[in-house]
Symmetry: C2
Subunit: 195 residues, 2 copies
């Protein structure tokens, strides 16, 4: 069951263990859902109504530029969270898409329910503070990488830092995350084999 995976995930946040009563409350607010490959769980123009916990599979979050090109800004695999936090809290339409790259299972929670949990299980505030801090650090590192090195160096760091993801993702998706075209990534890979 996906919900036990979520409990295990929260258990990592020692010393903030959830008691039985709290777990039951949690379970009542999360809904489990199966998502097909390529299925969208968020589309541009819609408000992001849920926080998603990935129990199985893999997702990407991306935006589309004026020319119609997609730009990945985040991946999320097992035991990771994904949502357009800005849209979720402001209730404004999102500019982003979230799409399953693999057949997946998620646990989703609605805004009102999450707020209810924040009020009734105060330690969740701390847990989610840490979750978002980690997301922030990840994003900041990505920004630093983008600025501070060539596409080849960025590709190599990606392989290192996300070796598990790298082997699951098509190169097209990696290129989009690195901010380059698939063609150029292909060239980089060719040049690397020569070295």
């Amino acid at each position: 069951m996906a919900i036990t995976q979520l409990f295990k995930y929260f258990q990592k946040f020692t010393p903030l263990h959830l008691d039985n009563e709290e777990q039951i409350l949690l379970e009542s607010k999360f809904i489990q859902r199966r998502v097909k490959r390529r299925q969208m769980i968020l589309q541009e123009g819609f408000v992001c109504k849920h926080y998603f916990f990935v129990a199985e599979g893999c997702f990407r979050m991306y935006g589309i530029d004026d020319k119609g090109y997609e730009h990945n800004i985040q991946f999320a695999a097992e035991s990771d969270w994904i949502a357009d936090i800005g849209s979720f809290h402001s209730n404004k339409p999102s500019k982003l898409f979230i799409e399953a790259i693999e057949p997946s299972v998620i646990l989703q929670i609605e805004q009102q329910d999450l707020y209810f949990l924040y009020n009734n299980i105060p330690k969740l505030n701390r847990i989610f503070k840490v979750i978002i801090e980690n997301k922030y650090v990840e994003l900041q590192n990505h920004v630093l990488q983008t600025f501070s090195s060539t596409a080849e160096q960025r590709y190599l760091s990606f392989l290192e830092q996300y070796s598990d993801l790298a082997s699951r993702l098509p190169n097209t998706q990696i290129a989009s995350y690195l901010g380059i075209t698939p063609e150029f990534l292909s060239k980089i890979r060719k040049d690397l084999t020569k070295k």
Copy 2:
């Protein structure tokens, strides 16, 4: 006094008002500090020991690439927070610099003291969760901007979104934030006057 500014800032987080006792506790943990223009409050290689609340003035956070070029990733002016969150929580050396762009006044708090406050004023967890959510959204928008448009469009959006900052910052700093050279920003500005 800078501390009253911090209280006012926290008051915005209704319905999470701090009572008198909590304010006294808060005040005892924050240290006020005057910072000169160009002075660093964080340098690469050092652990980020503090969270900084900017009461007056303006800061930039930047990294340096292999070629020695600086890349701004964040500005913080009055009533904003700045810190290398990753280094602060992990106690690992930072890869970043934080420097005053103007003569400034800050309130700083140490890691242990902040953790003490998190434990003794639980609602602070929620307040800082929201603070970091906002930081995350800002950074994500920056990433989206970077990917999704030409340097000229990014410059125009920056002027719109941060009109107050834009008038205070030298163009060199804006260029560094936009991920372009000062020379190229100069060209963009020239081209824009022609239109």
